[in-house]
Amino acid sequence: MSNAPPKMTASGVDVFYGAKQAIRNVSIDVRQEDVTAFIGPSGCGKSTFLRTLNRMNDTIPGARVSGEIRLDGEDVYAKAMDVVQLRARVGMVFQKPNPFPKSIFENVAYGPRIHGLARSKADLAQIVERSLTRAGLWNEVKDRLGDSGTALSGGQQQRLCIARAIAVDPEVILMDEPCSALDPVATARIEELIHDLRGRYAIVIVTHNMQQAARVSQRTAFFHLGQLVEYGDTSDIFTNPREERTKDYITGRYG
């Protein structure tokens, strides 16, 4: 545990969809060196809260966020904050792999291209190679970078999406149940990858799979009915929860 300031902080966050409140007064810190897991039963708001961190909720009509979310001390919801830059700094990986219907190379090059991160063609190729390598996909696809990204297997697609997110050099990567659509073998590969990426990026992962949270994360937050019930070191949460509700969930009483 270090005493460095947290990468992202949320304090008193409420989220509304129209008149319905989806998140109640959530405060949480995300640290640079940790993998943070959000767990909880379906519909508890963990994904909703994740999407507030890079303002993806902006794209949902009727969604409204109050409270404060800071990235390196900057207010994410401030007028001066540019959503485009925010999302480049806080990348996201989705539940279902969603490669663009383009070639593998173009999928990864997309982000650097729109943000103008590559100085030359060679530079771009280097970024693509480095991102794919980091995502553990390079050796599998280096001979067929021109193939369509949608032609890959599900697990490969998800790693392609991670490579795509890495390519813009984000500071934080948000993962919204990245393994729920994958088979156990592919899931293991992704968990490996998360483990490797830890430290280089602050990682927040939403999962409904408690074993997964226990395996990959250092910090765990338990959400229930839109509220943050308990947040602490993963080992504490799973061995010695303070709250009765957390204990019930972890021991499988509901969920």
Partner: protein, 458 residues
Amino acid sequence: MSPLALAFVICALALIGWVTARARAARFRRATARRFSSLPQHHGWFVAMGTLLPALLFLVIWHLTSPALVTEAVLATPGAATLPPPGLDRAAILAEARNLAAGRGYGAFHPLSERLAPAYAAAQARYDWIATSAALLLAFAGGALSFLRVRPGFSARTHVERVIMGALLGASLIAIVTTIGIVVSLLLESARFFRVVPITDFLLGTHWSPQVIDPRDPGATLGAVPLFWGTFFVGAIIAMAVAIPFGLMSAIYLTQYARPATRRWVKPLLEILAGVPTVVYGYFAALTVAPAVRDLGVALGVSWASSESALAAGAVMGVMIIPFVSSMADDSLSAVPASMRDGSLAMGATSSETIRKVLVPAALPGVVGGVLLAVSRAIGETMIVVMAASGVATLTLNPFASTTTVTKQIVDLLTGEAAFDSAKTLAAFALGLTLFVITLLLNVVALIVVRRYREAYE
């Protein structure tokens, strides 16, 4: 008995059958405790159908055959001996006599027809009488026979349902019959045309002026290449140059930017554009747009800017197609999974970058299919070009010059006073066949493209 009264009587018979059979079946039900597969009303319907169907079938067949029988009978009368040999004259006299006998027509132009009219009336009356009694007999017999089958164990419902299924199948076969009708009638008339005009002259010739057909070499002035070019120029180039940008951008704005409330109002508004009849567009094109386009051409220094320019017709046609392209693009864009859009936005792309670099490329096959359908619709569009384009066929690239199209020529050729089987009339069918084949190909290709695209995202 007039046809209406006859139909009425037969329907009344069917109704009587329905009521009595229903009552009879209801009595059986009350008499026994067993459960039946059919309700009393099924028995009623069974008898009603037994009454109606044979009689109606007979009447339809009779209607198709009796005119020939009546004519035969008239030809057998002594008055017909003086008729000219079979041919146009003879047919005209007979038609006139038929009209006179039926009380239609404005008087006899030919004395013979006046003499034949009474014979016609007599034969007609005789056959009408036969038809009426036969139809009534059939209705009665059919009703009685089916009534006799109404028994407790009789499954009337299965019989009624079988008839219903037959009706359903018959109704769906009409589409095939129509298609065959189109193909056969176009092919037959075109074949007659191509016996007179070599098919190569028609498809490859570059001179089209059907007003001056040389009987020794009719193909010389019936070369359709200028028409094909004009059709393509107006429908596939100018119209699409208007419809694609406006339609696509409208769809993008409405699906990606507009608030739902705006979208709910604007979309039907744009659909009104598609609901305006083409004759209105044609009138607007001829009266307002064409003069403006000519003035524009003159202002630009085009020496022979025509008031029947390709540009005026094509541009108005393009406006008409906007909602069509827009709704096809709308469908294609909506079919792109939302996760694509989210993925791009989560990378920090702006909306327009997402649309231009992810959504539109992903939706492209669907959009292309929609555009092909739009082209097929544009080249088949008739009234705008009939009213705003010229009748003179020219091979030109100048949008301010006058052009003509296949559809415009079909209308011009068929609304003259030419005989039904002159080369001019038959040329219209050959043009129709060409148009049908081209639109068919476009539609089939477009449907395949669109279907592949849909399947890719399912």
